[in-house]
């Protein structure tokens, strides 16, 4: 009885493994979506980090760890860097439709 | 000083400090260390010194009780066979202490007897990780 269960178990495992490992080869046509592209994700992450930095900077200023001039100078610089990132994202989005034609 | 130069100086200073501290550490470790010996090594070398760490297995039928929970026993090498050394021990005895148990005790060799520092006994967890299980 246990031998039968064991055999079924092994069979099920083998079947599952074979099915799972071969699935990517059977499913065709899942080309890269423009929104998914790696470069875009990287830029998104950079943007998030930059926003975190801007926020942190503001918190530091509000909790008294930066003088007025220091804060404003830093804030300007960080926002400029954020703008650059946004520009890069826009450029990337604009170039994708052209590439997939 | 230009920034790159400043960085270089900082790096050299911190590295030098680190090397100095590490050397101090390493030097003191050699002088503060107590030799870790097995009974056969201890008897062979007849080491003097007050802080010897003795590791071995309690010999069967060698345990003798004394007053106040103190206990005398013989300790032999873990690999078995070989000379055993008499150990005088006092202080707290871990509940896992028994013949055949591996343990570590710190003390000094006086004559042919190893006099242990009070409460310095550490018994090892019974081995469950050996690849070949022992049969009882």
């Amino acid at each position: 009885m246990t031998a039968l269960i064991a055999a079924l178990l092994i069979g099920a495992l083998l079947g599952f493994v074979l099915w799972a490992l071969s699935a990517p080869f059977r499913a065709r046509g899942s080309a890269t979506q423009p929104g998914d592209s790696d470069a875009r994700r990287a830029l998104e992450s950079a943007k998030q980090s930059k926003y975190s930095e801007i926020r942190d900077n503001e918190t530091d200023y509000r909790t008294g760890k930066l003088s007025d001039e220091d804060y404003r100078a830093l804030d300007r610089q960080l926002r400029a860097e954020a703008v650059e990132i946004l520009r890069a994202i826009d450029e990337l989005d604009a170039s994708i439709p052209a590439a997939s034609d | 000083m230009t920034p790159p130069r400043k960085r270089q100086v900082r790096l050299i200073v911190s590295l030098t400090l680190a090397v100095l501290l590490a050397s101090g550490l390493i030097y003191t470790s050699f002088s503060a260390a107590s030799p870790a010996l097995t009974p056969s090594q201890l008897l062979r070398q007849g080491r003097a010194g007050t802080d010897i760490q003795l590791t071995g297995t309690v010999v069967n039928h060698s345990v003798v009780d004394r007053a106040n929970g103190a206990v005398d026993f013989e300790l032999a090498d873990r690999t078995g066979g070989g000379p055993a050394v008499e150990v005088d021990y006092s202080g707290s005895v871990p509940p896992t202490f028994e013949a055949g148990r591996e343990l570590i005790v710190t003390g000094e060799l006086k004559g042919r007897t190893f006099v242990a520092q009070p409460s310095s006994m550490v018994t090892k967890c019974p081995s469950k990780y050996s690849a070949a299980p022992s049969t009882t």
Binding site: F16, V17, L21, A23, P24, D38, R41, A42, S45, A46, S49, Y51, E53, R55, D56, T59, R62, T63, K65, L66, S67, D70, L74, A82, V83, L86 | R7, R10, L21, L25, T28, S29, F30, A32, A33, S34, P35, A36, Q53, T55, S62, V63, D65, G69, F73, S92, V93, P94, T96, E98, A99, G100, E102, I104, C125, P126, K128, Y129, A131, T136
Partner: protein, 735 residues
């Protein structure tokens, strides 16, 4: 069924091998389908190993002693919960647990990165499956948990009573979770270095896993200390034992990584540091796993000489060599984008933090491996003891605590002097006040370290408290939330920062407990008869009466007999509490005919500590009912004379069951005699201040870590994003 288990392990190994090949091929050729197949191997590995684990656990629960591992570590007399836990008390079982946990975490990591880091994932997957292959190879070829003996023995050896404790149930899985989690940042670090891409996206993914490893490992360490305190009869929680150190070292390095990765995220600095730290932490985690089972160092834990030493050393060598090669050959990618603006900045504080933590790790490493080092250098193996460790770790720990108070209050890039003065005035005042207060309570000459540490802790709490206060006030100024909501939303908006601050407070509290309890502890080991008392510090402890029970094991650990005492504790004549230490006696592995009663209680004995904890101090008692030594194996048996008498009265013509039943009755009589006419017993008594703060500090650290790791709600994230987008766009329009 064991055959199915063996097949499962072989299948697991095959899947690992396939996955590595598929992922690497797909990565090199740019073929998504091959990479995906490789990634799915990770999921398959998790599924297969789960099946193997379930098969093994069922064997344990059903007491199937045909499995060698079940026979060696469990028994019918072991309670159910501990039977299930016995699975990982053996080498083969613990290896299976290790690789199973690895497969689970790897699956989580694989799922989270299913649409990101496309160039790194193939290599990271191969590394993770490489670890899987290593451990499954050990399980298939060296030490299988599914090895069987036929015919099966009737009874097993039983779980070591020392391990029958709730802390020990969680301690190995928690520690292993910590160790195995480290393989994920390692895998992604290797992958990132291979493809030469060490950027923000990689950090965001790796950081969470590093934080999880840090959290699990930290909990494992604290639980281990708790077990040592509550279970072992020496009343201590940290002995600088090699296995304690083995878990501490990767934890220290990952603490450094978690801090310094913040700097890479914000300023693109310290990239070489971070790559090295994450690779080192993971390698040390494997070293830790290796130390516990190798027998290479004398330790309470070193489980005899195992045959797996060489494969592990090979793995560690490969990880170390590979890491060094990668960091050196990719150093152009790891160049800093900025440099240190000022020594008066958060970056500088974090850098110093890194240095101190690495220094601490070096001290611990040196002391731990010293026996091997000294053997290589001088020919004799020598060990350094806790005094040597304390001498170097205490000052370094002090600096660390101080830094944890400086860091939160100092600004990024450049802190102006005026601002620094404003921010540190309160914490410094708190530190000085505490120092003065401490000096009045303790003699400063003998305990300068304690005074300094208390001051540093006050410094940290004031500094962090100030941060919370100011942040909360700022939040209240810009929003109309009620006070409590403002506090909650402040923390929620910046979980990492405030979670980290909470961790700092936890560490400070923990060190207060450590400093006080190690410096001002009073301990006594002596034998007492009923009615006698002794002084321990300011307390008087009196042995009131003896206690005992047979089979009705009050601690539910399967002890056959428990003998104990009732101690009354007073202070200055006032009643303070009652302690009830006891010793549990367990059956020997086999019942020896003719010595049935003795066999019932001559197995390992375990201390049940009598403990009364309060905010101010712990009262701790362990008892060892004195007895004559059993000639058979040297165990000390209380009431040995009576035990021998009882054994003599059991007729060998009775059946085994009847003999057992009679033996239990005799044991009951012996216990009754012990209670009525108790002999002297040996007690270890300790009064130790502020021990509870260690555990409270650990809990605070855990809560802080949990706060930091909790993912921000995505709705909130996108709302903020939209707001900022609008503002930046506005500027764009204006510029």
């Amino acid at each position: 069924m064991a055959f199915a288990g063996r097949v499962a392990l072989v299948l697991a190994l095959a899947v690992c091998a396939y996955g590595i090949t598929a992922a690497l091929y797909g990565g090199r050729k740019g073929r998504r389908d091959w990479v995906d197949s490789g990634r799915r191997s990770v999921y398959c590995l998790a599924a297969i190993l789960t099946v193997a684990m379930v098969i093994l656990e069922i064997a344990f629960i059903r007491n199937d002693f045909s499995y060698n591992t079940v026979a060696n570590t469990s028994s019918t007399t072991t309670p159910l919960l501990y039977r299930a836990a016995a699975m990982w008390s053996s080498q083969e079982g613990s290896l299976l647990l290790w690789v199973w946990l690895l497969s689970i975490w790897a699956s989580v990591a694989t799922f989270i990165t299913r649409n990101r880091l496309r160039d790194i994932v193939p290599y990271a997957t191969s590394v993770l499956l490489g670890f899987g292959a290593f451990f499954t190879t050990l399980l298939v070829f060296f030490d299988s948990p599914f090895a069987q003996t036929h015919p099966a023995p009737v009874q097993g050896a039983g779980l070591d009573p020392l391990l029958r404790n709730p802390s020990m149930l969680i301690h190995p899985p928690m520690l292993y979770s910590g160790y195995t989690f480290f393989t994920i940042p390692f895998a992604f670090a290797v992958g990132a270095l291979v493809v030469r891409r060490v950027d923000a996206d990689w950090i965001r993914v790796t950081r969470r896993f590093a934080l999880a490893s840090w959290l699990f490992l930290g909990i494992g360490i604290v639980l281990g200390a708790r077990w040592s305190y509550y279970e072992l009869g020496w009343g201590g929680y940290w002995g600088w034992d090699p296995v304690e150190n083995a878990a501490l070292m990767p934890w220290l390095i990952s603490t450094a990584f978690l801090h310094s990765v913040m700097i890479q995220e914000k300023r693109g600095m310290l990239k070489i540091w971070n790559a090295s730290l994450v690779l080192a932490a993971s390698t040390l985690a494997i070293v830790g796993t290796f130390l516990v089972r190798s027998g290479v160092l004398n330790s309470i834990h070193a489980f005899g000489a195992s045959t797996l030493g060489i494969p592990f050393v090979a793995l560690i060598a490969a990880m170390t060599g590979g890491s060094i090669y990668l960091v050196v050959s990719r150093r152009d990618v790891l160049r800093s984008e900025h440099s240190l603006d000022s020594l008066f900045s958060r970056e500088a504080a974090f850098l110093l933090n890194n240095v101190v933590l690495v220094g601490l790790c070096f001290v611990v490493f040196w002391g731990t491996f010293f026996p091997l080092i000294s053997k290589a250098v001088t020919g004799t193996s020598a060990a350094v003891g806790p005094p040597w460790f304390d001498r170097y770790t205490v000052p370094l720990a002090l600096i660390l605590v101080l830094l944890s108070g400086i860091g939160p209050a100092i600004a990024w890039r450049r802190a102006s002097l005026a601002n620094a003065r404003r921010n540190f005035r309160l914490p410094l005042a708190a530190a000085v006040l505490m120092a003065v207060a401490a000096c009045t309570v303790v003699p400063i000459s003998s305990s300068i370290g304690v005074v300094l540490l208390f001051s540093a802790a006050a410094f940290v709490c004031a500094s962090v408290g100030q941060e919370f206060w100011r942040g909360w006030r700022a939040r209240r100024a810009t929003s109309s939330d009620s006070p409590l909501v403002a506090l909650a939303s402040m923390v929620r908006r910046n979980r990492r920062r405030y979670g980290g601050y909470i961790v700092h407070i936890g560490i400070a509290v923990l060190f207060i407990g450590v400093a006080a309890s190690s410096t001002f502890q009073h301990e006594q080991t002596l034998s007492l008869r009923v009615g006698q008392s002794t002084r321990v510090g300011a307390y008087t402890m009196r042995y009131i009466r003896a206690t005992g029970s047979v089979v009705a094991d009050p601690n539910h650990t399967g002890a056959t007999m428990t003998l104990g005492a009732v101690l009354r504790v007073t202070r200055g004549g006032h009643y303070v509490g009652t302690l009830r230490p006891s010793a549990g006696y367990y059956p020997a592995a086999q019942i020896v005919p003719g010595l049935v009663v003795a066999s019932l209680i001559s197995g390992d004995a375990v201390d049940q500590i009598g403990l009364q904890s309060s905010w101010r101090r712990d009262l701790w008692a362990a008892i060892k009912p004195l007895g004559a030594t059993l000639p058979a194996n040297g165990t000390q048996l209380p009431e040995e004379r009576l035990v021998n008498l009882a054994d003599g009265t059991i007729s060998p013509t009775l059946s085994a069951t009847q003999q057992l039943q009679t033996a239990f009755v005799e044991l009951g009589l012996i216990v009754a005699h012990y209670i009525k006419f108790p002999p002297a017993a040996s007690f270890t008594l300790i009064a130790s201040p502020l021990v509870m703060w260690i555990w409270i500090g650990g809990l605070i650290v855990f809560l802080g870590g949990l706060t930091a790791i909790w993912p921000a709600p995505s709705a909130l994230r996108s709302r903020l994003r939209a707001r900022y987008l609008a503002r930046v766009a506005q500027e764009l329009g204006r510029a």
